[in-house]
């Protein structure tokens, strides 16, 4: 595969560019936002969806609508989200949400090199979706899908189309080490929340609020 080094180079360049842009962009001004605030929620199998729905369960009505993104093969997440939203609609009458499917970023046994390719593909796929939804805030907790989504949100910001707040909550399963998504998004998120003190020590920029799921 001769194209691979070029693709890897391009990917590295893109990440470097995003990181520079991130550092150069002024630190968010803290002018209060007005409700409602549209939310983009990245769900994912392996417990990610369960955890993120728990986080959502405590949010007020001001966080609406909620746009869910999940891998097209992930029927279980879709069912959980529907059940969650049905329950929520019983409490809040004007509850709004949408469901959005994207191709899966990294299959479990896939090798690293081709996962770079599919990640690039996912970014291409994610950008129009993020552009269309233009969320105020992205909430994610680690499925591979969340990296391309957050990167395309940064592109929106670089292109001065929309300022998106990225909130990353590392899974409760991560006690001492970050997930791959976490390692990347540590540098790109506005608020990076961990749920164990050992991670807070290793990653000083992170926020520790105790166990929140």
């Amino acid at each position: 595969m001769d194209a691979l080094p070029a693709v890897l180079g391009a990917a590295a360049l893109l990440l470097l560019l995003l990181l520079t842009a991130r550092l150069l962009l002024a630190r968010r001004n803290s002018s209060p936002r007005t409700a409602p605030l549209s939310l983009l929620v990245v769900a994912g199998s392996g417990g990610h969806t369960t955890e993120i729905l728990r986080l959502l369960s405590s949010l007020s009505q001001s966080y609406s609508p909620r746009h869910y993104i999940f891998a097209d093969s992930d029927k279980m997440s879709e069912d959980k989200i529907r059940t969650f939203e049905q329950k929520r609609a019983e409490t809040f009458s004007n509850s709004q949400f949408t469901l959005n499917r994207i191709p899966r970023c990294r299959e479990v046994c896939q090798s690293w090199s081709s996962s770079v390719l599919t990640t690039l593909y996912s970014i291409l796929y994610s950008f129009p979706l993020t552009f269309r939804l233009k969320p105020d805030l992205i909430l994610c907790n680690g499925p591979g899908t969340c990296v391309p989504i957050c990167i395309s949100a940064l592109l929106l910001e670089i292109l001065a189309l929309k300022k998106v707040i990225i909130v990353y909550v590392e899974s409760i399963c991560r006690v001492e080490t970050l997930s791959l998504s976490g390692k990347i998004l540590y540098y790109f998120s506005d608020y990076f929340i961990v749920q164990w003190p050992a991670l807070k020590e290793k990653y000083p920029k992170s926020i520790y609020l105790g166990r929140i799921v």
Binding site: P32, L55, R174, R211
Partner: protein
């Protein structure tokens, strides 16, 4: 009569199924007052046959949509180190013995089980020490697992966004 529930998750863990259904283990379970053992065996190639005698019942199934009911009915849960099962079991306040699959030693899932053990919420062992652990461990020394606090997350988000 008490009931024990064994769960291996979405893959298989045949060594655990073999260890827990070994005659000596069943005998220890009986001596501890367990009259029923329920096995969730996942993709195991060979599942043990269920049986029912006056003194002991063995139930076996591969998968279920939700294990909530089985966890609810159990007086003891013996589980693989999967984070989802560990958390769900502890949230239901059930005594938990995690059996670590030594073939998956570097699996990040172990991080959580190890931490929950350090914090006194569960015990863990391997297949080869299961029998000994069942005999010696006093489950009543486990500490209750407090529920997570998503409201702290909501308060944090409201604050940084500027919602009052």
């Amino acid at each position: 009569m008490k009931s024990a529930f064994v769960t291996v998750g979405t893959t298989s863990f045949e060594e655990l199924i073999a260890a827990v259904t070994a005659p000596e283990t069943l005998q220890v379970l009986r001596s501890l007052g367990y009259g029923r053992l329920v096995l969730q065996v996942g993709r195991a190639a060979a599942a043990p046959a269920p049986f029912r005698t006056a003194a002991f019942t063995l139930d076996v199934f591969r998968f279920k949509e939700s294990l909530a009911e089985d966890l609810e009915n159990a007086d003891l849960v013996i589980s693989h180190a999967g984070a989802g099962t560990c958390l769900e079991t502890l949230e239901k306040g059930k005594p938990l013995l995690v059996v670590v699959n030594e073939k998956l030693m570097n699996n990040h899932q172990l991080e959580l089980a190890r931490q929950l053990y350090r914090d006194g919420h569960l015990f863990y062992c391997t297949c080869s020490t299961l029998l000994e652990s069942l005999k010696s461990i006093d489950m009543s020394t486990l500490k209750p697992f407090p529920p997570g606090q998503p409201e702290k997350f909501a308060a944090f988000l409201d604050r940084v966004i500027g919602f009052e």
